[in-house]
Assembly symmetry: C2
Homo-oligomer: 321 residues x 2
Amino acid sequence: MLAAVKNALEVFQKREIDRVYFVACGGSSSLMYASKYVLDRESAKIDSDLYSSNEFIHRNPRKLDEKSLVILCSHYGKTPETVEAARFAREKGALTVSLTFDADAPLAHESEYVIVYEDGKGANYLNESPAIMLELVFGLLAAKEGNEKFNDVVSSLDNLGPILEKEKAKFLSRAKAFAESYKDDKVIYTMGSGANYGIAYWFAICLLMEMQWIHSHALHAGEYFHGPFEVLDKDVPVIQLLGLDETRPLEERSLEFTQRYGERVVVLDAKEFDLTGVADSVKGYIAPLILQAVLRQYAEKLAEARNHPLSTRRYMWKVPY
Amino acid sequence: MLAAVKNALEVFQKREIDRVYFVACGGSSSLMYASKYVLDRESAKIDSDLYSSNEFIHRNPRKLDEKSLVILCSHYGKTPETVEAARFAREKGALTVSLTFDADAPLAHESEYVIVYEDGKGANYLNESPAIMLELVFGLLAAKEGNEKFNDVVSSLDNLGPILEKEKAKFLSRAKAFAESYKDDKVIYTMGSGANYGIAYWFAICLLMEMQWIHSHALHAGEYFHGPFEVLDKDVPVIQLLGLDETRPLEERSLEFTQRYGERVVVLDAKEFDLTGVADSVKGYIAPLILQAVLRQYAEKLAEARNHPLSTRRYMWKVPY
């Protein structure tokens, strides 16, 4: 565990905290959906909310105060709304803990505590943001409520590296087949629930919309039956995530329906993963991390098949907005 | 105010309540986004969460207990997940208050308190679900925290009927023009933030996806710049809502960008509404009700232009799911 994470957990011990706000934008926000799922399921006392940074500032939650912990994230640490959110939260007296890749970025300067994470080639998965978020929320639960799953999370993360490599290799040929089959599609839906919904959201808005300019929408597997499913026909592509958390029955139900009336459903099922070394008590919380690593390959292969590199942008970082 | 609403507010006086769960599916859920916005902005103590009914049951929030108020809604009162959610919440000791159109429906039987609302032709707007939700959340805030805007909400709602009729009439020709212009589109986005996001969500999943089989996605005006905006080109249709709440700067920003790079943005701006009789203190909370009434006409005219009645379904209520 990074020293900065340990340091944050020590601060959690000392500070009174009755509420957590997860505040970020886009991909950085998507990884926090699972964090809120953890607090909802596990915490006896701590409330939590998740907001896009600018919504957080303008919504200005009245309960944001010196007993609030605000966890923020921005990869380059320059996202103006997230930097401003850190400043705003500190003015309210809240404890701010920020994750960023760049120790010298504005977000680091505006936050009380900073965790610099690794990313990209050669990164140690334990020091990447999804693992750190799990350590933070379970560390908070251990500090405040004696939650005993913290140790299970730490030991499971220790064993995660080889699992990620093995599962990525296992799914690589499927990622290639997906890319060939879906490279000409204009709309691709993703679907999930519970701890996995954030991964569906990330793939829809970052990988498909941002990086591939493909229309998308992260469907919630429960909401599906109350509107969205009427768009389904044989030609509509849906990427269905199946996790291991308590909402899996929702995902199984949406899959069954999509397979009954659709012909283009792509399934990523965490039950296929070899989770040796991951504690049973936290498998549902760890599965999204593996789903994300596996699913990323689907985008990489799609980008190759479409000759549209994932780095292509027309507006982001290029024009004022 | 309906006697059943008054009754619920009296119960709120007597019961200890530290948390509200808004629980419903699809369109019934969408009207609760504004309710959570109200509690976030106004409440000093009461936490709140909003979940699709089946997610609520399976997520099984640990803090759901006898101090929780669970507000549920199902139009026909038969949505199995919402009926089950009411049963589940009562087993946990929570106070359950359900909104439904049908007093004899299963949801009414499973809930401790029932509010039967009006709907459709001849309904008194004061007795429809959006107005009732405002009365409930501000009534709760008045009962528990002495919030003084409750009276403003009640008087503003009293004056809302003629406003709705006038604004619907004002926007009718624009709704017809929209329908002619967009009737052949396969994808139409909606966009909003804050108190209006639920209206964008409702239009995307219920009106466009469910009732018109048009691909859609309710974009959050803040998240837009962190992924989704990369799909924008001159041909991509976006319906932009502009409300009067504190997040309006987010909506103005997304509109400016979409108008700069797109050519097919449809604007519904609450600043155009004549809100005589609506108190300044609650205009931001009332605007979504008018936006919804006006926007519904856009779907009605679209349905006519496409010769695809809003009542058309291929799965809902027709096949098992």
